[in-house]
Symmetry: none
Subunit: 267 residues, 2 copies
């Protein structure tokens, strides 16, 4: 049973010109929760916040020296390693240079010449590429302004998250969460179903239990003017749908036996 | 691109014993973003926060008078109408009583006898039910403790969001977001092939039938040295799995009544 597939290491999340330090931390957490670990920050444009009154200023010529503020690490909460390993670069072109698929997250309202895809529909192509050894990027823009036209043009896929056309309020970390959830959900890892250890009853056991029930109902004189055959058929279908375990059969037949004893002396 | 289908009004999000006022607001926003508008709060258990130093106390006998604090509305940000229309009740049983499908969100680590579903796999059934006019609920528990065993038992489906087994950090509002995203994302699909049962029993009807069974067994003095609680729990799960129709409930209760009559004179 696979957990996070190894090829997930070829999928990177790119955040361009992010404003709020907390969003970077929250995005890291959202990523790691779905098994993604590669974060690339493009020209972080951090604003002053109560917890980060003097945010670090990004300098393109010293991109590699950029250090995220404590607030980002606080929100990352256990995904600090994603932040520590994050690459910091000056522009989106550099962030996606070695990728074969770079998807720009955009809202629907833009006028763009390329077709929009949804995460549901685009993900198979993304996963297939990663599985084939190719690098893939999902690119998110600034919280308020999104990606610039130039940034979008560095990408070869347009991605939008559909929702309520009358009200759509998804913040950056939530958008990252939804996209990462979609990616993970289409891996084999998500397709496991946890079946409990059970000893399911056989068809014969179920039929035997239903026959015992019928016998008990007859002894109680339950059917009288009712349609016994129709009722028993319904009960059989009901108990089949219940997918009883052996233990359920024993329990039910114990009940029937007790009823038979209790009602036996009425005759 | 689909808009929001009318049948989405039959899908409710239930938040039980939520601690943080902000999470309720964030959940409302997450819902509305994906076209869902029905929020039910069960016994809100609000903690004091910097913005809400004196949170309102929920009183079961005055459930309808409960008023959310300003902090919830601040986070709802445009989804205030969802909060205003939210129903407030005392327990999960009440919140799901008239539903045909009630899905308990749970983490994988629980020991439970019912199979776990993923949102991807369960959603078609949920949407088909709603389309057929049936009420559906998704039930989320407290941020720290999740749902209690008793709360889970009020539900007839178990739902888990899969992710990185080594690190999984999804807060309440994000879990709501992901589930609502999944629901909306499948609305393009052709759901006609999933025909739900004609008149499925509600959670309340099933619980009532099981209670009737328990009463009948007690009158028969069935339990004696047996573990009544464990047995009734097993029977409840069995009957939930059976997805009974209203007609099944009537039939079973007719059987119980007859048993009660037949065994009544033994005392």
């Amino acid at each position: 049973m696979s957990a996070v597939p190894a090829y997930f290491d070829r999928i990177r999340i790119v955040l361009s010109r992010t404003s709020h330090p907390a969003n970077i931390g929250a995005a890291a957490r959202a990523m790691k929760t779905m098994g993604l670990r590669r974060l690339v920050l493009v020209s972080p444009n951090l604003m002053a916040t109560p917890q980060t009154p003097e945010p670090p200023v990004f300098r393109p010529e010293r991109a590699g020296e950029f250090v995220l503020p404590e607030e980002s690490f606080a929100l990352a909460s256990g995904a600090a390693d994603v932040l520590e390993r994050a690459q910091v670069v000056a522009d989106v072109a550099e962030a996606v240079a070695d990728t074969v698929l770079a998807c720009a997250l955009t809202s629907r309202r833009r006028e763009l010449s390329a077709p929009l895809h949804t995460p549901r529909r685009l993900t198979p192509e993304l996963l297939a590429a990663a599985q084939a050894g190719q690098e893939v990027a999902l690119v998110f823009g600034n919280e308020t302004f999104g990606l610039s036209i130039d940034e979008v043009r560095c990408c070869n896929r347009l991605l939008t998250i559909n929702g309520n056309p009358d009200y759509f309020s998804l913040n950056l970390a939530q958008a990252v969460q939804v996209v990462c959830y979609e990616l993970f959900s289409q891996t084999d890892a998500d397709l496991r179903r946890l079946q409990p250890d059970a000893a399911p009853a056989t068809a014969e056991q179920v039929a035997g239990m239903v026959a015992h029930l019928e016998e008990t109902l007859h002894e109680m004189d339950f059917f009288r003017r009712r349609n016994a055959e129709r009722m028993m058929r319904r009960l059989h279908v009901l108990f089949q749908r219940a997918q009883p375990e052996s233990e359920d059969i024993d329990l039910l037949r114990g009940i029937f036996r007790t009823v038979q004893q209790r009602t036996g002396t009425d005759k």
